[in-house]
């Protein structure tokens, strides 16, 4: 067990950082909160910024009515902190338009030390934004879990090289931290609580998710692959050294979304990816299962789609109590038949997995994803065996790591 019991995120202060030396020509554009035209002035700064510039958000609460966007490469957006009363708080409670609070569509952007609250859609989205760094941010729906909250808190998509470091996300009606259709990703030292999904890696290649806390979500950490999308065939994802506990919030996702099907009490859920490693995590108090490995069990028409979990490896995780309230159809009956709870690792029987944790595994024995779950024939399964050679860790470009040093 190599896990650090309290991840670094919990120990970090959210105080302003000393910033690394910027290029000589770069300038700092400071914008103040609280002026009647703060929204327009801030957007203007984000448009007029030039590569290398810093847009500095003054301390205070920003009352914003429209989504912000940044489309200039190599710009830093830096606030005075994430705490109420002293930080730079972007409040979107009165938002009238746009699909997110802040949209980034340029490369080498560094977002740090501010908070985005109560957006109508997603919190911060970055699309096609390579080498983006999300660092020391708070994205929150402050009333807690509500179906009317926005979908994603932090939402990079279609990007290469993504770093999410020391963020706090709460209340997302889909996923707190969602990385979609991207490559070469690190999510670390962050806290996701009271979201439907704490952290979700979807249709991605090469990701490390480590040293995070995922607690009081419906599901803690999800690794998904879905059909009919431009990038699919998710693979090579490592989930390690995380604390994933007490994911007990009833599912509040709007129906129809894939996460609406996540049973309350899910710790780590792997669906239809290949080569996912789950190791050295602390997993406890997840009422359905600490680890769940399943196929994509919906009809689909995409011939290129691969619906099975393949070569999933699980080892050296520390398991606390789990399986005491399995929230999938038929779960309660299975638990009753097994003396009140089901084992902490649950496999639907599709695809292939090696589980070397020192706990029992329950298989639903549904190898064909076309078979309805009602035909499950649950039985204990022994998935111990030799895992494939370990995946190499993710290395990000030095310029990205330098931002957060």
């Amino acid at each position: 067990m190599r896990v650090t019991y309290l991840p670094r995120a919990a120990l970090l202060s959210f105080a302003a950082l000393a910033v690394a030396a910027a290029p000589a020509a770069a300038k700092t554009i400071s914008v103040s909160a609280g002026t009647p035209d703060a929204n327009e002035k801030l957007q203007e700064a984000l448009i007029l910024a030039e590569p290398g510039d810093v847009v500095e958000l003054g301390a205070g609460t920003w009352t914003l009515t429209d989504g912000l966007s940044l489309d200039v490469d190599n710009v830093t957006v830096r606030g005075a902190g994430t705490k109420a009363g002293e930080g730079s708080i972007l409040d979107f409670a009165g938002q009238q338009g746009a699909g997110e609070g802040l949209l980034v569509t340029s490369d080498d952007v560094y977002l740090t030390n501010f908070a985005v609250l109560n957006t109508k859609g997603d919190g911060i989205k970055s699309k096609g934004a390579d080498r983006i760094v999300y660092h020391q941010l708070r994205v929150e729906w402050t009333a807690g879990p509500k179906e009317t909250n926005g979908a994603y808190g932090i939402y990079p998509v279609e990007s290469s090289d993504v770093l999410i470091d020391s963020v706090y996300v709460r209340g997302a009606s889909d996923a707190g931290i969602y990385v979609g259709q991207s490559k070469n990703i690190v999510v670390r030292d962050s806290i996701a609580m009271e979201n439907v999904a704490g952290i979700e890696i979807e249709n991605c290649y090469d990701a490390d998710v480590h040293d995070n806390v995922a607690t009081k979500n419906t599901g803690g950490i999800l690794v998904f692959d879905l059909p009919s999308l431009p990038q699919q065939g998710g693979h090579n994802v490592r989930v390690f050294d995380n604390m994933v506990n007490d994911n007990s919030t009833p599912n509040f996702a709007p129906k129809g979304n894939i996460v609406a099907s996540v049973p309350t009490g899910t710790g780590v859920l792997v669906m239809a990816n290949s080569r996912v490693e789950v190791f050295d995590n602390m997993l406890a108090d997840n009422g359905t299962a600490n680890v769940m490995i399943v196929g994509y069990r919906y009809p689909y028409k995409d011939e290129k789609y691969q619906p099975l979990p393949k070569d999933i490896a699980v080892w050296d995780n520390q398991h606390g109590k789990a399986g005491f309230a399995p929230a999938f159809p038929g779960g309660a009956e299975i638990a009753a038949a097994m003396g009140g709870s089901i084992p902490p690792v649950l496999w639907d029987g599709a695809g292939s997995a090696v589980v070397n944790d020192d706990v029992a595994v329950l298989s639903l024995n549904l190898p064909d994803v076309g078979t309805p779950q009602s035909e499950a024939k649950p039985s204990p399964a022994d998935l111990k065996g030799e895992a494939p050679a370990p995946l190499p860790g993710i290395t990000l470009p030095e310029s990205m790591e330098a931002r957060v040093q």
């Binding site: 448009i47 429209d66 966007s69 569509t105 009919s228």
Partner: protein, 341 residues
């Protein structure tokens, strides 16, 4: 929309009836520069102190236009002297550097019918640049609003309902969100299949603008004219014009996997039986973007009929529900065979 047609007929009459050969065209040096002039008058698109365009620009309309809060739009093209735009084989129009596309938005009840805003797409050596201008209260000039603005606007929709909205003039980045193809700005509207020059075709100087009259592909139907196309064709034209600038594999909504171009096949990636990807509460609790035969359980309709940020589609530039457009799509989905395409 008869009112728009009438307004355009009037505009075109003026334009074609009074071609003043001596009237200068727009200021080519400003178009070609890297400047973002604070005042629209710097471009010389409109006669001094008015919102009447100079005759040198070529007016056009679209068979099926983008819905923008029932605004009436006046569109103009400028191609620099001695050059011509070319219509490519796929129907898109290649404009030479130095070209300019102008779109003005207004309502008959607002500012005495004068435009509220004018958006420019400038083809500069560095690529296309988008600049939004908001007309001053006296209607004599317009001022650059690079960060966009919400403008209170009152008008009546065709069903007689009165609307008072905070109309969103997009900012420079938002211009690009829609006008984006693989991360660079491109024009959307002027495509051979959708463009209509009307009486401007007979202008003596028309041939100066285009290598040839753009008629390489069959025209798209008018979304609201059943004589111009089948229900499905009109629904597809509407989706192409209102959605496909983002919903295509190189657009701002590429990650959704929902592709709504005129040329896309009608299948899962066109929304038929397609589950939400990143819709969040935009799914409205429904399973599919389009559920054949059942518009009430098709969240594409739900999003078109919503005004709420985070749900409403398109995400930008819509503060009013386009009832007539939604009705067209409702009918199209309702008449789809339930077993899908």
């Amino acid at each position: 929309m008869k009112r728009v047609a009438a307004a355009f007929a009037a505009a075109l009459l003026c334009a074609s009836g009074a071609v003043a050969v001596s009237e200068p065209g727009p200021n080519q040096a400003v178009i070609d520069s890297a400047d973002m002039p604070a005042k629209l008058s710097a471009f010389g698109i409109f006669r001094a102190g008015t919102s009447e365009p100079v005759d040198a620009l070529l007016p056009y309309t679209l068979h099926t236009p983008l819905f923008s809060d029932y605004a009436e739009k006046h569109r103009l093209i400028w191609v620099p002297a001695g050059q011509q735009a070319r219509v490519a084989a796929d129907g898109h129009i290649d404009f030479p550097v130095g070209s300019l596309i102008v779109k003005s938005f207004g309502w008959p009840e607002q500012n005495g019918g004068r435009p509220v805003e004018t958006r420019l797409l400038l083809h500069r050596a560095s690529g296309w640049t988008a600049l939004p201008y908001i007309w001053d209260a006296d209607g004599k000039d317009a001022t650059l609003a690079i960060a966009g603005r919400r403008v209170p606007v009152s008008f009546k929709s065709p069903d007689g309902a009165a609307h008072s909205i905070r109309y969103a003039v997009p900012n420079k980045n938002q211009c690009k969100e829609c006008h984006s193809k693989a991360g660079t700005i491109v024009p959307i509207g002027p495509k051979a299949a959708n463009i209509d020059f009307g009486t401007a075709l007979s202008r003596p100087d028309f041939a100066r603008f285009f290598v040839k009259v753009p008629r390489t592909t069959a025209p798209m139907p008018r979304w609201d004219d059943p004589a111009s196309g089948s229900l499905e064709q009109r629904a597809r034209a509407y989706l192409d014009v209102n959605c496909a600038h983002c919903h295509n594999p190189r657009g701002s909504a590429s990650n959704s996997g929902l592709f709504l171009r005129w040329t896309d096949p009608i299948g899962v990636n066109y929304g038929i039986g397609k589950r939400p990807t990143a819709a969040g509460r935009g799914s409205g609790g429904m399973e599919f973007a389009i559920k054949p035969g059942d518009p009430d359980h098709s969240f594409l309709i739900y999003r078109l009929e919503s005004l709420e940020a985070g749900i409403a589609m398109p995400e930008l530039s819509r503060s009013t529900v386009h009832k007539e457009g939604a009705a067209l799509l409702r009918q199209w989905i309702a008449e789809m065979p339930k077993d899908g395409h």
